[in-house]
């Protein structure tokens, strides 16, 4: 066993589509990196039966499996709360860091600057992100760390048994907490205002929308925020709550149908002039949006903010890709990080020479 060096751990291979799709004879039921879906499973969930968070875990597994993300090259991060427990329930072959309440962004920033070759998925909740962690969340977005940041938003504190959160609806009533007198914080709006380059909202019970959104988020070059309404079956599933299954089914206002095409795939989606919008990601993959009821332009920040403000008034929730901007450099680019991650540099690169110390001291007066 090596006790004096970091040696051995290899630089991870790229996360998405490291091998071409075409011309590869792969066995059935394995993905492009030769793994079966079971290689993506996690520990057994301890969340309540029917919890929206478990659906999201399943959709993360599907997205990563289908994309061919190598589990070893992905890190799972979380804060504290019901949502933050869930990284233990998917992809056990990935490293995980269940950090502190509201502090996941800082831990993720340290880890992914130390090793920018790894992909990160953070799972947080509305309390973790919207209350105790709002500051770190905004600064993560501002720095544009390349990671997927999923908010499993149920509008309630579950693990402490049913207090209002910062995303609870105004006027909402809960059994012990009484009536909520304060308006909710819209975390998508916060993300857009902080110049987040990828902001989407979805519903845990809608895998057809969630899976391609996660895939697209993984291909985004910076911080991708996914606010996924995830009903709490135990503490917040009253029909009049906007975070309930019933409300979600009735009030889900889609702004786009969503297709994600990996860079290696041939684009075969049906093109309807005037109704589709194609967004190219930095790695060459594409998002294809098909407008449903109105032609929302997700590259228009003001339009996205307007849409969110209007939906607020109507107590609707708008789902789909709200805003995208691939132009901002990410944190690794800002820091001009070397190809070999900082975490794997050894003494030869890290300790300056004896002569350099002599030289510095000779100038120390």
């Amino acid at each position: 066993m090596t006790t004096t060096s970091n040696g051995g751990a290899k630089t991870a291979s790229p996360i998405v589509g490291s091998q071409p799709m075409k011309g590869v004879n792969k066995p059935a039921n394995v993905n492009i990196v030769g793994l079966s879906k079971i290689d993506y499973k996690g520990g057994e969930s301890t969340l309540c039966n029917g919890c929206g968070h478990d659906s999201i875990s399943a959709q993360i597994i599907t997205a990563c499996y289908e994309l061919g993300v190598k589990p070893e090259s992905l890190i799972k991060f979380s804060g504290i709360g019901c949502s933050s427990k869930s990284p233990a329930y998917f992809m056990s072959r990935s490293f995980g860091f269940n950090s502190l309440h509201g502090r996941m962004p800082s831990v993720a920033q340290g880890a992914l600057v130390a090793n920018h070759t790894l992909q990160g998925i953070g799972v947080s909740g509305d309390g973790d992100t919207g209350s105790i962690g709002l500051g770190q969340f905004i600064h993560l977005v501002r720095r544009n760390l390349r990671m997927v940041y999923i908010i499993e938003n149920n509008g309630v504190y579950g693990l402490t048994k049913g207090q209002f959160s910062a995303t609870s609806d105004i006027g909402q009533e809960l059994k012990h907490a009484g009536k909520n007198e304060l308006p909710p914080i819209d975390l998508c709006r916060e993300a857009i205002v902080a110049d987040c380059g990828f902001v989407a909202r979805s519903f845990a019970g809608d895998p057809k929308q969630v899976v391609p959104l996660i895939k697209a988020a993984l291909a985004h070059r910076g911080t991708a925020v996914l606010d996924i309404i995830s009903p709490c079956v135990t503490f917040n599933n009253r029909d009049d709550s906007t975070k309930s299954y019933a409300w979600g089914k009735e009030h889900d206002e889609r702004i786009n149908d969503f297709g994600f095409v990996m860079s290696q795939e041939e684009i075969q989606i049906e093109q309807v002039p005037g109704q589709t919008k194609e967004v190219e990601m930095h790695d060459g993959s594409r998002i294809i949006l098909k407008a449903v009821d109105k032609s929302h332009d997700p590259t228009d920040m003001q339009a996205a903010l307007h849409l969110l403000t209007e939906s607020h008034k109507k107590q609707q929730f708008i789902t789909g890709l709200l805003y995208i901007n691939e132009d901002r450099p990410n944190l690794a680019e800002v820091h001009q990080l070397t190809d070999k991650p900082l975490s794997h540099l050894q003494q030869d690169k890290l300790r300056p020479s004896r002569e350099s110390l002599q030289k510095i001291m000779s100038t120390m007066f």
């Binding site: 066993m1 090596t2 004096t4 970091n6 051995g8 751990a9 290899k10 630089t11 991870a12 290689d39 589990p71 070893e72 090259s73 890190i75 990284p87 056990s92 490293f95 995980g96 860091f97 269940n98 950090s99 502190l100 502090r103 962004p105 800082s106 831990v107 920033q109 340290g110 880890a111 600057v113 130390a114 090793n115 790894l118 500051g135 770190q136 600064h139 720095r143 820091h335 001009q336 990080l337 070397t338 190809d339 991650p341 900082l342 975490s343 794997h344 540099l345 050894q346 003494q347 690169k349 890290l350 300790r351 300056p352 004896r354 110390l357 510095i360 001291m361 100038t363 120390m364 007066f365």
Partner: protein, 623 residues
């Protein structure tokens, strides 16, 4: 400050004769006195003061400079005191023999604070309605001379400070070529500002030669034997350089006095020393975080991922880092936290020194937590512990504190040259994918295979299906799985205590100077060392022989136990109100607790030999 300055200082090895009554009757005082410049902060006097300090140093005279500055940007009173000591004592002294007064707001106090027989040099526009018969006066036309310099009007008030440099140099015999060398260093080799400043220095010296009649005994003379081969540096720059030679690759920090210059040092030297020659890219990342919580969160994330990771802060930052420090301890993640201590509690006195974070740092975090704490006493040790702390953090897989303070960190010190780290970097117990395979499923992240309490870790990205583990602050078993079983909890906590015993063996041991037949033992750490060295000489002259144990780290080892047992009375000297180190010493060796006495002081200023000698003399007289 004022009370201190007026306190009698009977310790000067060269007593000043008073009153001043002509040069002929007074023996010269050479290389053994203090000069204080009383100015306003933001006036640019720091350039002048450092030029004086460095010029004395270059003449071979042992010096120390102490900046007593306000927590403010401009216009508040500031004093800079330079002590010249031919015997090589560089701790603080209370007494000032030469006062240079440029601040009308403090002129009356500054005037009364001059030691009898001393000098009062003052700007001619100050209002001084009183006078003394026991000191010498020199009135200097500062504004007029600054105006005559024809310097850019915007820079005139800065350049005015050079008037007192030139005048004092002429009066005491400081060589102009050394002032010029000091300015050239200060302005990083740029000749133009050196020339404009030197022009004023020369003009002021010429004016002083023509217009002032020296009637004081203070002189400087070039000397050898004390400063040879020494550097002049502040502790924070030394801490930064130590970390760089320790291979730090990730830094997150938040601005705070008096720690900011650690990050400044990193930002200054990293680009020069750690740009990869092949890729021309940095082998490090420095992030200014949104607060201290995030700073330590980032540092832990990076340390967990395998980078050599550190932050620097001061007391209020330490309070904010409590939560993450506890997580780092329990999840066992390497991190280095440099705490440049200032006066607390609360905002306290941000620009004054204290050793008030000892207990806090040692036990930071809720529940049962304890951390290795390194205690450098000088810039030399700031450098050494800068790299050692990174080795210890990775070896022990835990946050390691380095406690310096404002006095070491922000003042300029004469220092031995730094020793290049001879040890190979210790990256601790890290498993590769192949090594995980070789263990055939036997690996557990928190398993104590070697009996030293330290498990083996893997790094994120290790390309092996069994290399990953889940890091958490909740209860876990040897294999890092969530566990609420009492047995798992107890096993884990026992192992962490075992690991702390390993830390006790690995941290730098104390430096012990045992004196035969000494009944008195002195125990201390950090910046009080300078005053203690001098105080021991003075105590010995008074017939009190002392041994000295200087702690360089916590936890303490058996050296402390033996030292306590070997002396009838042990005084723990420290700069805080609650005698924090004294409490720890008593806890370490309860059997000797009745022989351990507190000897603490906490007025915001560095300790003086005068105070220590008086206090121990008094305590000894009561024994």
């Amino acid at each position: 400050m004022l009370r201190d300055l007026t306190a009698p200082d009977n310790l000067s090895s060269q007593p000043v004769q008073a009153p001043a009554s002509g040069v002929a009757e007074r023996a010269p005082v050479i290389n053994d006195f203090s000069i204080t410049a009383a100015t306003k902060n933001g006036s640019g006097s720091q350039t002048a003061n450092l030029a004086l300090l460095r010029a004395f140093f270059k003449m071979g005279i042992p010096v120390s400079g102490k900046n007593q500055f306000p927590s403010n940007i401009q216009g508040r009173p500031t004093w800079y005191t330079i002590r010249l000591s031919k015997d090589g004592y560089i701790g603080r002294r209370e007494t000032t023999e030469i006062m240079i007064a440029l601040n009308n707001d403090t002129v009356l106090d500054d005037h009364s604070n001059v030691a009898p027989g001393g000098v009062f040099m003052y700007a001619d526009d100050l209002k001084l309605p009183v006078s003394r018969t026991d000191i010498s006066y020199y009135k200097i036309p500062v504004k007029e001379m600054a105006k005559a310099s024809e310097a850019d009007p915007k820079l005139r008030s800065y350049i005015a400070n050079m008037v007192y440099v030139g005048a004092i140099a002429q009066l005491i015999g400081l060589e102009q070529k050394e002032i010029e060398a000091a300015l050239l260093f200060h302005f990083k080799g740029k000749q133009k500002p050196v020339d404009s400043n030197m022009k004023v220095v020369r003009a002021a010296a010429e004016w002083a030669a023509k217009n002032l009649v020296k009637d004081d005994p203070f002189k400087v003379e070039r000397m050898t034997g004390k400063n040879d081969g020494l550097l002049m540096i502040d502790g924070n720059t030394a801490s930064a350089l130590g970390a760089i030679y320790g291979g730090v690759s990730f830094v997150a920090w938040y601005p705070i006095t008096p720690a900011t210059s650690v990050a400044d040092g990193l930002n200054d030297y990293l680009p020069r020393l750690r740009t990869d020659p092949e890729t021309k890219k940095p082998t490090y990342a420095v992030v200014q975080s949104e607060d201290e919580l995030a700073a330590l969160g980032m540092v832990l994330g990076a340390g967990w991922a395998g980078a050599r990771s550190m932050t620097s802060t001061s007391g209020p930052g330490i309070s904010l880092m409590a939560e993450f420090t506890g997580l780092g301890y329990f999840a066992e993640i390497p991190a280095v936290i440099v705490d440049v201590q200032r006066m607390g509690p609360a905002t306290g006195l941000p620009t004054r020194v204290s050793q008030g974070d000892i207990l806090k740092a040692y036990w930071l975090g809720h529940g049962d937590t304890k951390h290795p704490v390194l205690l450098p006493s000088s810039p030399y040790e700031c450098f050494e512990f800068g790299w050692r702390a990174l080795d210890l953090a990775e070896r022990l897989q835990t946050p390691v504190f380095v406690l310096t303070d404002l006095d070491i960190g922000m003042n300029q010190w004469m220092s031995k040259p730094f020793d290049y780290p001879e040890d190979q970097m210790d990256r601790g117990k890290v498993l590769s994918g192949e090594e995980v395979t070789a263990l055939k499923g036997g690996w557990g992240r928190y398993k104590d295979t070697d009996g030293d309490g330290i498990g083996y870790r893997t790094l994120p990205g290790t390309d092996h299906p069994q290399a990953a583990y889940f890091t958490r602050g909740s209860g876990h078993n040897e294999r890092a799985a969530l566990s609420e079983r009492s047995e798992d909890w107890e096993n884990n906590m026992e192992r962490l205590t075992r690991k702390f015993e390993t830390a006790r063996r690995l941290v730098p041991p104390p430096v012990v100077d045992m004196q035969q037949d000494a009944e008195v033992g002195i125990i201390a750490c950090g910046s009080t060392d300078f005053a203690i060295q001098e105080a021991r000489t003075l105590l010995s002259k008074q017939g009190i022989k002392t041994s000295y144990l200087r702690l360089r780290a916590l936890p303490m080892n058996d050296d402390v136990t033996m030292f306590l047992a070997a002396h009838k009375r042990n005084y723990v000297i420290e700069l805080n109100s609650d005698a924090q180190l004294c409490q720890l010493v008593r806890l370490h060796a309860p059997q000797s607790a009745d022989k351990v006495h507190k000897c603490n002081h906490n007025d915001g200023l560095p300790l003086t030999a005068h105070w220590i000698t008086g206090e121990i003399g008094y305590l000894e007289s009561k024994k």
